[in-house]
Each structure stands twice: as C-alpha cells, then as structure tokens.
C-alpha cells in the first residue's frame, strides 16, 4: 500500500541485529502519526521464528536457499521485486554492512530517492521529515522525505530498540517471488574475530580508556581501577590502533556495542563513532581535561581532570569502600 513503511530485517547467523529494532521503532513512531502499516521484510531460509518479537503489523517473509546468508545479489533481486510490487511510502534499511550495500542499488533500479545517515523522523505539516547526521556528526540535515517512495538508511541513536520489540508476534506472510538467478556473489565462510578472554558486551562494569591514557605503561593504572571495581578494561579506537589492547576490547562503530550498568570513560573525547557503541550504558561517568569534549554530552557525570591524576586516588578510595 502506498502509505506503508517497510523495514528490511538485518540478521546474521541466526541473530537479529539491534538496528532492526531501532528501524522498527522508527517505523512505529511514524506509523502512529500517518496511520500507516509497519511491514517488516525478512529474507532468509528457515528464518521465520526470528520475526516473533517484531513490533510490525505484518512480516513479508521470503524463503530461499540463496537468502540463507546475506548475499547482496540475491537480496537485490528479491527486494527489487517486492518493492516494485508494493511501492511503500518509505523503505528503511540499516546504514550498515548489509543495508548500505543494497539501498543505493535499489535507488537507481527503482528510480527512488535515497536518504542516508538518518537518525530519526519527525512529522511537520503533515509530512514526514528525515533528520540525518553528516560530517561525522558535526552537522544535522533535515528535509522532507520525497514521495511517492523513498529509501532511507538509518543509524542507531534516535530510538530505543525496546520500542521496536513486541510481546505479541506479528502476522507472517510467506510470499512468492521469482527465484534469484545468475548470482555473481557468494559466501564462502565466516571468520570469527580473535578469541579473547572476555566479551566486553557482557560485562556490567567497564572502564574505557582513550587517547588521554597517553602511554602504554599507564594502562596498568586503568587495569587496577577495573580490578578494584570488579570490571573490565575496554578502549576507544586510538588505543586499539596502537596495539595496546586487542580489537575485541574496542567499543564503537567498528567495534562492539556495549550496555553496561557502569561505563567509566577515561580520557575519551566522545567522537560519534565511539559514542554509537556505548551511549546506551546506564551510568556514564566521563573524565577528560577538555571541558568541551563531546563525551560530556552523553555522560551523566563528568570531571575536568587529568585521568592520570585521578586514577590511583580513585582506585584507592574504591578499595577502601569495598573493604570497609
């Protein structure tokens, strides 16, 4: 239907990625104001169960062997078909390794405009508007979502994923579609990241270090704090790039997304790529010598002090508090 809002479900190896729920939440939000349907589009093989907690009105499910993993060629063929048949008002994809691979191609094939980097939608004068983030988050761009059909790639941060989940399962329609043929892309295998001792995304207390740590030999100080707190060390990209901590400890867009109870950001400036990975933390305390550091926009508490001065004192007081 012309008013529908479509969401392409992203899933890898049997797990639905969080961005899917963010997109569903966005779609739900818009749909409430436009009286539209939220349609989740799920491509896969034997993957219907994944849709059980989607906050969608209906799920269009295409089942085929070629759709088992994410193959851009196969997804493109099937989606082109679906979108041509349904002509939704908005089709939302993730601005990710999955969504960004195909949204552009579809834009050209269907002749529909594409908006990327979208963080949220809003209604103004009865028309849907997009709010996108560009220039590394330094500039926001707002504009009308073109009609009749517009493709959008979304980034996280504007909606809580919980709002995209539902306790009741949506209606699932298995659709027919022409079989994908002449595939030029295939998947050989997945390669796991290096095995480490700890999965930071499962830790409730994280001590995160950034450029402010200065030198490798200062990391010991942060480790002691982490030990005192019963938490684990993680880092922003610059620290990992130096080789001081392994990539499995990296938090951010190219690393892990974490949602601990406590996130202590030490010497981290708060660039969007990092914030993307930790902004959902329950309690964020940031320490940075620069009072204008963007991390203070996302933290609940902050202190303008050199982390090297604070760390040993903080460790001591925490040990005292625990022992006493």
């Amino acid at each position: 239907m012309e008013n529908d809002i479509f969401v392409l479900v992203e899933h890898l190896r049997g797990e639905v990625s969080e961005i899917t729920y963010v997109m569903l939440a966005a779609a739900r939000d818009l749909a409430a104001e436009t009286d539209a349907r939220v349609v989740a589009v799920l491509l896969g093989q034997g993957a219907e169960k994944l849709a059980n907690d989607f906050a969608a009105d209906v799920v269009l499910y295409a089942d085929h062997e070629a759709l088992k993993g994410f193959i851009s060629d196969a997804y493109l063929q099937v989606l082109e078909n679906i979108l041509q048949d349904h002509s939704p008002r908005i089709a939302i994809f993730g601005d990710t390794s999955i969504g960004a691979d195909i949204a552009g191609c579809l834009s050209v094939k269907l002749g529909s405009p594409l908006v990327s980097g979208c963080r949220s939608f809003t209604m103004e004068d009865g028309k849907p508007k997009f709010i996108s983030q560009i220039y590394g988050g330094k500039i926001m761009a707002k504009g009308e979502v073109p009609s009749p059909t517009c493709l959008v790639t979304m980034i996280p941060g504007g909606y809580k994923p919980e709002s995209g989940k539902s306790t009741s399962s949506p209606e699932i329609n298995s659709i027919t579609f022409p079989e994908p043929t002449g595939l030029r892309v295939s998947l050989n295998q997945y390669v796991e990241p290096e095995i480490t001792d700890v999965d930071i995304s499962k830790e409730p207390v994280l001590v995160a270090i950034g450029r402010g740590i200065g030198r490798e030999d200062n990391i010991e100080l942060a480790e002691e704090l982490a030990d005192a707190l019963g938490g684990v060390l993680c880092a922003s990209r610059p620290v990992v790039d130096q080789g001081w901590l392994s990539t499995s400890r990296m938090v951010g867009k190219s690393g892990k997304s974490v949602k601990p109870s406590i996130y202590l950001a030490m010497g981290i400036s708060g660039a969007p790529e990092h914030v993307e990975g930790m902004s959902d933390s329950e309690l964020i305390i940031a320490v940075n010598t620069d009072p204008a550091a963007p991390i203070f926009d996302v933290a609940q508490y902050g202190a303008e002090i050199d982390l090297l001065d604070l760390l040993p004192v903080l460790t001591e007081k925490i040990e005292a508090a625990k022992g006493g």
Binding site: R215, E216, E224, L308, P312
Partner: protein, 748 residues
Amino acid sequence: MGRGMSKASRLQRLEEILLSSSRGHTIKELADVLEVHRTTVWRDINELSLQAPVQESENRYFIDRKEYLSSIRLSRGESLMLYLALRKMIRQQSHLPPMMVMAMEKLSMALRHPSSVQLAESIQGMKNGQLSTVELARIWEVLVQGWIERITVRITYQEIQTSVVEEYEVQPYQFEPTVQGEGVFLIGHCLSHEALRTFRVDRILSAALTTKRFVRPKDIVIDSMLRHLWGIWYGEELTRVRLRFKDPEVAEQVRKTLWLPSQKVRDLEGGGVEWSARVRDVFELVPWIHGWGSDCEVIEPNELQERMIELKKNHGGVTMTVIDVPREVTFSEAFYQSLQEVLDGERIKVCLQCSSCSGICPLGYAMEYHPRKMISALRAEIFDAVLDTDSVWMCVSCYACTEVCPAKIPLTDGLMTRTKEEMLMAGNVPKELQDALENSQRYGNPLGESPRKRADWAKGLKPEVTIMAKADRPVDVLWFVGDYPSYHPRVQKISKAFCKVLAALGVDFGILGPEEASDGDSQRMAGENGLFEMLAIKNGKAFSKYHFNEIITTDPHAYNALKHKYPEFGISYPVRHYTEFLVDRMEDLKPLLKKQIDATVTFHDPCYLGRVNGIYEEPRMLLQAIPGVELVEMSHNRENSLCCGGGGGGMWLDGFQWEKTQTRLSEWRVCEAVEASGAEVDVRRPPIKEKRRRGLQAEEEKLPTKRILAGACPYEAPRFEDAVKMVEKANHLEVKDIAELLAEAMED
C-alpha cells in the same frame, strides 16, 4: 661524606668499612662515621647483605674478606675504565649474562652517575626481551666455578663447521673475549681431544660439574696460542695472511694500531702499507677485512681472496682484483657519494671507527646500527642492511656525536638526516612521525590543528598582541612564535608569560598569527627536506609582506632554521633567540625583577641553543638576575648537555622509542636535575602505585627551598613535566621556561 651523599655512595663506603676491620663495627659506630641515623644504617646493612656476605657477631658487623672474592678497591678513574670496557662488551653481545649486567650496575653505582645507572637498568630491561638467559646464567656459573675451583666440567657443544652437537670434558684454564665480534672463549684442556682447545661460550648448550679436579700445568703457554688465534675456529696450521692498504690516510691508521700481536707492517711505495700476520684460521678475519671496504686488498692466501671476491659479488661491490671492472654503482656507493656532498661531508672518509659517536649517543645502545656501525656498513657496501632496520629512528638529532667526533664529520646533519631521508622515501616511517609530517604538510603544523587558530592563544591578552595582517604597520620586532607555543596548552602558558615580559620592557612587537607556518627544522632533521623547503618558502612569503627590524623567537629549532637554513632560500633576516634579546636589555630588565623567587634552579641547555649554536651564558645570566635564585649545574651541562629527546622527530617518536628502550631521555635528565638540586635520587623504577600522589608527597617532605628545572625550548616543558610524573622523588621538581620565571619575578 654525610649529608648530600647519595645512598649508593653510602653503601659503597659502608662496604669498605665493613671490609676493613675483621673485628667489625657496631651500628652506632657506623652511624657516627657515616653521619646518618642508626635506622638508616640498619636499613643499609640489610640492603648490603643482599650483595655482600655481611656477617654479625655480638652486635658487631663485618665482611669476611676470604668469603668475598671481589674486594678490589678501585679509584673512580679505574672504575670508569672497567665500566667503559664493560660497555664495549655489552654493545657487542647479543645475549647478556646476568653477571655482566650486575657488574655494570655495581660499577655505575660506584661512579655515582644517574645516567649510567639508568643505562644499566635500561639494558636490564632490554635483556628481558631477549632469549632466555636463565640457562646461559647457569652455564656461566658452572664454568666460573670450574675455573676458580679447578673442577673439570662436562659440556655439550655446538660445532660450527659440522653443526653437530658433541659432548666434551674440559678443564677450564682461561676466558678470553675475541678481538673482533661478540664472542667470549673458554680455553682449556679437552680430555676427549687430549689437547688444548677453545670453545665459544655462546655455543655451549649445557654445562655441568664433574667430580674430577685438576691441576693446571705451569708450562702451558696460552699466550702463544692466543697470538695466533683470531677468534676461534678449528685449525691446526698457522697460515700467513697478507693485506694491502693503498690509501695513505688509511695506511696511517693501520700502521698505528695493533690489531694482532704478531702482525708486521711494511711500508709500500706510494704511501700505502702491507700488513701481514700468521693466524690459526684465516676466515675469522673476513668481517674485519670486509669492514675496510675497497680500501683493503687481500694478497695472500688464495682462499681468503676468493672468499672476499665472492662476498663482494653478492653485495654487488668492487672485486678485489687490481683491475677495475666497470660496473653499476651500488646503492651504498651512491649514498656514500651523496653524503660527501654535504658541507664538510668528505670528512666521512677519514672516520677512524673510534666509536666516540656511538658511545656518547644517548640511545646508541638501542640501535642495531649506531653511527659508527653505519659508517662501517657503508664502507662494507651493505648499507641496505641499515635501512632494513629502523634503528635510525632512535636518533633525536641532539648533535652529541657531531660535537665529539675527532674527525669532525657532520654526523647529525649529514649521515643521520640523510639516512632518515632514505627511510622516508621508502615510506618506512613510524606512524606517529607519519602523522606529524602529514599534518605539517596539510595544516602547516605537526599537531594537526587548524591554521586559522594559530593565534587563538593570544586572544584576550592585555595589552593586545599585534597580529601583522590586522595591524598593517611596521613593528620593531617580529616574534616567530612556533608550533607548540601556539597550540600546546602547556607551552601556550610560556607564550603568554613572554608577552608579559615584552610588554613590561615596552618592546614593539608583532606576530604573524595564522600566516605563520611551522619553521620546519625538526621535520627537516627527520629527513623531510622537501617539506622543509615548502614551509620555509611559505614563511618567507609572509615575512616579505611586512616591515620589522629583526626576528626573535622563543624556539631554538626555529632559531636554527631561520639563522642557518632559510638564507639558503634567499630568506635572510637578523635573528636572535629571546635569551640573547633579553640579555641585551638587561639594564631595563633587572630593575623590573622585584619579586623574590627562592629556588635552586638548574638550567637544561637545549641542544639547538647550546651545542648547535653556542649560546650558553645568556640563559644563565637571565636566571641569575632573578633575586633569590641559586643556580646549580647538572653533571651534563653546556656542550655535553643531555638531550631531552625531542629533536630530529623525537617529539613524534616517543612511543616507538619507549617500546625499544623502556626508558625516556627526558626521565634521565630529570634524574640529573633532581640530583643537581641536592636531593637523593632513586633511579630504580618505582612501583606504579607510589608514583602519583604528587601534592601529598611534596607537603610531607617539607622542602626548604623550591627546586626548578629551567628550560628555553618549547619541547621541554611538556616533556619534562611528563617525566617528572614518572620519576620517584622528582615530584617536587617544578619545570619552568625562563620566560615564565622572569614573568613571575615581575610585579603584576
């Protein structure tokens, strides 16, 4: 003795006293003699007993001479000789037996020199990254015990020519280091061969004591064996070797030096010499001959001649025959040529290989190819090997080597900078440095800050700082501010202080602000000549737009570039460093310095102000003009000042250099500053927890006067303040630029 004596020297003295009398001394007696408290003596004895067999009987303490083997008393000069000898050995070793390191540490303590102790510690640190020395230590202990107590040892040994592992029983007679290369040899009677044999200790895979004892025969003539030995491979016959050195300068050197006791040197027509000797195995001479490059020709024997030809062929160099075969120029040769084109560059031909450069280089020990070895490789036409390592990035262009070279070779400007240039061209650059250079290219400063913000530090200052583009009028003095003074928060404070001083003196000055680009000198010394030229021309264009009588700068690197290098591009103005400028105005300045600053101040001579440009006294005169200041000198000062580690790209190689050496030059310097100001310095790396309680510690210590390390270069304040955090007992040391102290001494 007494107060002011460092703990190290006190322990030394204590040891001497405890050795001197077998009756021993009570704690009280020792406390009186050493002029310290009893509890201090108690602690010292505990510490000493870790190193020496201190014994106690009826509350009297002594060391039994018989138990304590090495009770040699050495004068400081003698200790220094041993220390130097050990250093030479350490440089040549790829494995460091713990005994060597311990001896080094003890000698360093005896010399009471913080930097040498740091060196020892650093070597210890380096050693930790090498092959397991536990087995090696064990082997040494067995050999030494066998040698002293005359017990036969059983060893498993890796033969060199067959690569087979054999077991031998040996009576150890003597140890001897090789003349060339990195070996130490065990010479002894081998029971299996029933003859005198030599074994390279690093090819001994295991050693164990047997139950047999031996008596060393008195008529063993080891010396004569050594005479014919040159390093040791197996050989029975003595072979005559004849070498020809044609170049008169080279010949002179050969004539004067004793390489082998049995050598004969014969003059040739035309100024050359022929050198001959009989040796046990000729192939051991190969590295030595190779080092001479084309200056040395093998005449006899044939096998040696062929081997040298083969080696040359593999490295693409000149053949050893007399006929000059036309061939392509090798990379090494081309590079050697290019070095000679630098000012005074031809002096590289007379390098004596004396190793003064490598010895004085503060990070020479951590370079696989230190300066002397670089020249040696150049002559051996294997310079590509130097470029395969990254050791040249340890160089901080401090000019110590150039200063000390007896042949006056322009090492820093010529050899090191050109080598860095080759590395750059090959793209072989550590990431930090790459970023700094790319930032300089793109933004005109290595910090990657926006050029438009270069004068932001001056916003809001009263009186207002004149920016040339806005002022549109001539000024008396153009102040070239520099990168770090413009952008780095710590150094911006110095810039502001300097403004205050200039204003108080009524100086009519202006700055270029956003039109100023990096002076480029450090980037030049890091090998990026093209970038330097680009920056110089940009600055030159800005200069030419305005009228001023002279340029002053607070940055010795900018001073160096503006004075000596910019004129090569036709950009020539009178330039002074701010200390020269202010001393000129001392009559006006002195009366303004009304506030007393009670402090012991030591001045760090910046490399590019002092050693490179000869300005030593002006900074000191300024400091002494401040009431209350007591000026003391560090042990390295003026010409032999120790670099802070920031030059030649060092500012952007910190992580790289730290990884290799586990130490920082700025920390050594801070240790010296602490010692110079009279405090006791403990240079062992303290446990991290104790390090950082800065404010608290200073209070606890309740020092009588302030201690200040003064500098006159923008790299120093941030580097030394970082170092102060890492050195225990340096917590109370303040780091200030002279401009800051002057501003402080002026009334508001």
